[in-house]
Symmetry: C2
Amino acid sequence: MTKRKLVRTTATAPVIVEREQRPPIEAIRAAAFQQFAERGYPVVTVRDIMKACGLTQGALYNHFKSKDELLHDIIASTQGELERVCQQAVAGAGDDPRAKLAAFVRAYVMRHCRLRVEALVANREIGWLDAGRVADIRRSRRAIRDVVVAILVQGVENGVFDPPLTGGRRDLKAIAMALLDQWTHVSMWYGPDGEITEEEMAGLYANMTLRAVGARP
Amino acid sequence: MTKRKLVRTTATAPVIVEREQRPPIEAIRAAAFQQFAERGYPVVTVRDIMKACGLTQGALYNHFKSKDELLHDIIASTQGELERVCQQAVAGAGDDPRAKLAAFVRAYVMRHCRLRVEALVANREIGWLDAGRVADIRRSRRAIRDVVVAILVQGVENGVFDPPLTGGRRDLKAIAMALLDQWTHVSMWYGPDGEITEEEMAGLYANMTLRAVGARP
DNA sequence: ATTGCCCCTGAACGGTCGTTCATTTGGCCG
DNA sequence: CGGCCAAATGAACGACCGTTCAGGGGCAAT
């Protein structure tokens, strides 16, 4: 068997759009999102993406400098919106760390349920970007994590959170990482066709989170 | 720029072993683990793997039928051991669901810290296996998840767990998924050179988990 | 009608891929 | 020492990759 076409196990036959009404650059972005999510960046070819929106391979380079830039473009826009959504949620939740944390979790989980294709690509395919392009995305992720850490710090200082100790200290950064892992990977298994809604997911995760950090009732 | 070699951003120069003492099949497995973890299955070439253990590309096919089979081999062995470790941990923890759950989390997290290269490959690269080969691994994962669900069910029945409700019901499967996501992805960021030991990580996660499911003290 | 411009086409380029296979190697047994 | 065979070699094969580019079409402005 020679160089068989590599596909993810969840792959479905690429759907060729009969006629695109959107401007080509947005059709390309959408097609790339779909294909990267289903099959993974390295095995999705430029020809695949362009065929999915009814064009030929060369046309990509009228809109993006390279396949790399296309990936960075769609990840960066997703990440930027996520950061904005998170900060808005916290800003509009008053001053109680419990309300802040709950609002953050709800916004974060809800978004990862609703836009799970985008979240999946942003989280799974980021490793293919070269070091120059990945820097701003990593910065944005650190910023989001630091928002969580700040809420935890405030809650501990106010005495409304009592998170577990780690070897005698409180490692709030490790706790934030553990929580973010949990919230993020909803996008890996949540399906809107299931029997549980996005709002219920958000509520469940917010509840588990507040318990995990020892929030006072 | 034409077909530049695709690397993950965390990639380091492949180290060529000067002389392998292990039997070749094990050297191949080890090299493949390392390379798949660092750079990802689709971009690691057969030539890369074999060069890393001091052989040439053709020699792979004296030990494995294909690159696919090599990936399945290393994932399946990791997964099998994980399932065994989890079941042993539960079996040796008495009958209290709290002790069972804590033992499970500790074993699971400890393993994902210690063998994070293996865990990373098993969790990130599984999607490249074809449907036939992936079935037994998915079965093993479901089995592990069901162990968690069974502990939760027992704990709720005994009245020692009081997990959050989801839209009026108790969705213990969703809770198990959320917890497993959290435990699993330790392998994505835990570094043994950090200031927190594996045992401390295991303790932290066990503590957060028991709080999240509302374990009575 | 003509120009200019944007966008698209599709062949072509140089390269890498997984896999095969005829040949060579090297150690062990008689 | 000679024969044997598992294991390794490295060239070769057919296929596909990202990217380039000369050519062409459509449409608004002149």
